[in-house]
């Protein structure tokens, strides 16, 4: 890509990543949550890949690490669900709820948001890598 695209990317990609993390962490307070936040985080890595080529982006987050993160998100979500059995039933909100409208409130909901963010972000990044990079490299 051209110098303009590279400079703009270098300036904005951190802000996009930070905005995704904000959307995830405030998922139980403001509109958003794990799914859109995870997609925004994946989009920041895709932005990096479109501007600087696949090597720069895959150096930050290669396929092995992304697939580990994705599986970790799935296991974390399932683990939160199963640990509800500590108090009674599946998906029980077993952590103290705290005061509403605080950042640390709502029990397991922020943890579930973080797990879904890992899953969705790494999963969609992997789909992009598989569909674009691998299929293009096979044609050459």
């Amino acid at each position: 890509m051209t110098l303009i695209v590279k400079t703009i990317t270098r300036l904005t990609v951190g802000l996009i990543l930070l905005y995704g993390i904000y959307i995830v962490l405030h998922g139980h307070l403001t509109p958003g949550g794990g799914f859109p936040g995870g997609v925004i985080i994946a989009l920041s890595f895709i932005h990096l890949m479109l501007a600087f080529g696949k090597d720069t982006a895959l150096k930050r987050l290669n396929q092995l690490r992304a697939s580990i993160l994705e599986s970790l998100g799935a296991i974390m979500f399932l683990g939160i669900a199963i640990s509800g059995f500590l108090g009674g039933y599946f998906f029980l909100n077993f952590i103290k709820r705290g005061e509403a409208f605080n950042l640390f409130s709502a029990g397991i909901i922020p943890l579930c948001n973080i797990a879904i963010c890992f899953k969705v972000g790494a999963g969609l990044f992997l789909i992009f890598v598989a569909l674009v990079v691998l299929s293009n490299s096979q044609e050459k």
Partner: protein, 173 residues
Amino acid sequence: MTELHLLLLFMIVGAIVAVEARDLLSSVVALGAVGLGLSLAFLILKAPDLAITQLVVEILCLIILIRATIKRDLPFIRDGRWHFNTFSTLSFIIVFLGLAYISLKDLPAFGQPLLRVAANYLSEGLSKTGAANLVSSVILDFRAYDTLGEATVLFTAVMGVLAVMRKTGRIKD
């Protein structure tokens, strides 16, 4: 309501353009316009969660579509049984609209659902889960099984894409 109807009209026009456009890039751009119109419609209907999700997923799908499909152009089939196709499509549309008119007459009005459970979620969501965002409290507490199923679907999709597109272990023909 007027702006919603204008948006719906815009989305229908965009969808028709996406189907009828000659080259693939115009179709993809028209599809993106439909998706952005849908995001605005969610915003007008006061559903900011859905609007954010629709917007970011639309951007991602647009990037994947443009990067993955823009190099190969699909051939169009334009000759053949044009009259038969048009006639059968029109007759199906007429039958569908007639049946929909009969069956949708008795539905409750727009924005006044019949479900008692949803009203219960709205009134007791904050006190039961402690989450200020009611959508989060529904998808991660009341209906967490749905979210678990959706996560499983995404996991299976990623596994499928990686298995089809993998490089190692593929038998050369």
